[in-house]
Amino acid sequence: MAEISYLEAIRQGIWEEMERDPNVFLMGEDIGIYGGAFKITAGMLEHFGEKRVVDTPISESAIVGAAIGASFTGLRPVAEMQFADFITCGFDQIVNFAAKCRYRWGAAAPIVVRAPSGGGIHGGPYHSQNPEAWFVHTPGLKVIAPATPSDAKGLIKAAIRDNDPCIFFEHKALYRKIKEDVPEGDYTVPIGKARVFREGRDLSVITYGAMVHAAAEAAVTLAAEGIEIEIVDLRTLLPLDEEAILASVRKTSKAVVLHEATLTGGIGGEIVARITEKAFDALDAPVVRMAAPDTPVPYSPTLEEAFLPNARTIAEKARRLALY
């Protein structure tokens, strides 16, 4: 088993699916000779050729729309948004067409839209957003947000094989920072299944993406104080793995729901609601949310640092809840 980065894991996953299925192809801006803004598709043009690695004009709506149309002819398009922030330009095609095809007229739209998202890279308001909640509120979509190389590889492969439209959020801050050994050979990670990232008895931190690692860092601090937090990595945001969430909360009786996206209207509310509706009696304390404040993502380091939840602020919040 070779240790690879989160970025390399996604790259390998796509590469393997391209090898496995000739109907899989890639489209997006600067994904060919340039290999993509983040180099996810580096080397693919050379290996798979122009036919399967398609540089497009700057047309997010047409990229998504064309991906859907191509999927109607039996292809398996993987479309890249150069930054998740620009998925808003293809929003109508995703939420009004792709998401509704199967229900409205029985047509499958097996597309994958990859969206590099998240802050912590000094990207400012237009290159740092976490827009997943919009899509979680759109029936018909599957929304995926891996935190580790193993999951990133297994989930991108599962998404490409899935027969429903998948929005795949890749956290930019994890691309090169997070490395681990990934399983040998061909494997997928099931869409819709969370995993316990860290076992703990005192309280549950329900989170995903980059925040999984911030929580893990906080867990070390807290463990030294005798507080053992359990970290549930959702991995898929739609459909939500309610069982896994409830199981952890029933075990610890306390929960912090954590995300990097801004607080109001974020997916955190959905999770809190499901916990209180279905595990109310198991709760020893109110479920608390932790997220970025309700502002655009600021550029200046001092502001962005204050904006993003981090190990220190997570530990504080968890500590207070543990002592509730």
Partner: protein, 339 residues
């Protein structure tokens, strides 16, 4: 309208030499069926309250979807807009299914999930309308890309109105199709209105076709009320696309002989236009041409119409007997296998 001058007589069906009579009969039947079905929907069932919600028909524009739709094979993928009901008949959808669709019954193409023209069936190679105007254009571009990718000779044919050309999706779709040189045929029905908005408030150029050069795309303007002219132009466009020469735009000049939808009296339309365009009715014109060329007799033609009326009577009865969907099925099929 400078570039075309619609006449009361049809242009000879160049290109379709030989089988004119058969072709003409097929076109007449299809246009007349579309007209009759939509008349029943808009003027009977809707007014009787048997159809709820929006009703959009293509009265006076039948030559466009029929003429163009008849120019492709069953393997080519169609992307209708809301005035192109005829395409469904060309693909074997029955009046029964259409009436049931409009009445929200399980017998409809979407089984009650969606209404009116918002229907499609990939098995019949006909993609559902996307309600957002022009959103179908990039999708059709992608389908055409798929055909090219797979090395088939199939083409995608997408329909839209003059108003739809103002949408960003229209531009992105045409540009991408041209850059990728995919087999896409674009059929514009320029009926000079978008809902209540006249084309002068929609664009500052004289013709939608004037935009083709900006995409490096060939185009032509055709009399949209001349079904044989539309058919011939469409055959040229399809041949161009099949040969791998890329997308091709056809602008069909026509007029919407009704309101935007069943609830719109269209009082904003200058009165004289109605009479002017009534004289150019595509069905009457083909009928006259067929009689003139002795491709069919009065009786034969009346026979066609009588058959259609009977077909519609029977189809409406069938549709009204078709049940409403079972509420228990409400959440089925949002995802593959989901209940």
């Amino acid at each position: 309208m400078a570039a075309v001058n619609p006449t009361a007589t049809l242009s000879p069906a160049a290109g379709s030499a030989g089988d004119e009579p058969a072709l003409a009969r097929r076109l007449l039947y299809s246009m007349a069926l579309m007209r009759e079905v939509e008349d029943r929907i808009e003027r009977k069932l809707y007014r009787q309250g048997k159809i709820l919600g929006g009703v959009y028909v293509g009265r006076g524009q039948e030559a466009i979807c029929i003429g163009a739709g008849a120019a492709v094979t069953a393997d080519d993928l169609l992307f209708p807009c809301h005035r192109d009901l005829g395409l469904f008949f060309l693909r074997g959808v029955t009046p029964r299914q259409v009436f049931a669709q409009y009445m929200g019954r399980v017998g409809g193409l979407t089984r009650g999930r969606d209404g009116n023209m918002h229907m499609g069936d990939l098995n019949l190679k006909i993609v559902s309308i996307i309600s957002a105007m022009a959103a179908s254009v990039p999708v059709a571009c992608g389908a055409a890309f798929g055909f090219k990718y797979q090395g088939t000779k199939d083409v995608a044919m997408v329909f839209f109105g003059d108003g739809a050309t103002s949408r960003g999706d229209w531009h992105e779709g045409l540009n991408m199709a041209a850059v990728m040189k995919v087999p896409l045929v674009l059929i514009c029905n320029n009926n000079q209105y978008a809902y209540s908005t006249p084309v002068e408030k929609q664009m500052a150029c004289a013709h939608v076709a004037d935009r083709a050069p900006g995409y490096g795309m060939p185009s032509e303007i055709v009399d949209g009320n001349d079904v044989l002219a539309v058919h011939d132009a469409a055959k040229r466009a399809v041949a161009h696309a099949r040969e791998g020469l890329g997308p091709y735009l056809i602008e069909c000049k026509t007029f919407r002989m009704t309101g935007h939808s069943a609830h719109d009296g269209a009082t904003y339309v200058p009165k004289h236009l109605w009479a002017e365009w009534e004289a150019k009715d595509p069905i009457r014109r083909l009928e006259q041409a067929m009689l003139r060329s002795e491709w069919a007799s009065e009786e034969e033609i009346e026979g066609i119409y009588a058959g259609i009326r009977q077909e519609c009577d029977e189809a409406i009865e069938w549709a009204e007997r078709s049940p409403y969907p079972d509420p228990a099925t409400l959440t089925e099929g949002v995802y593959e296998g989901s209940r």
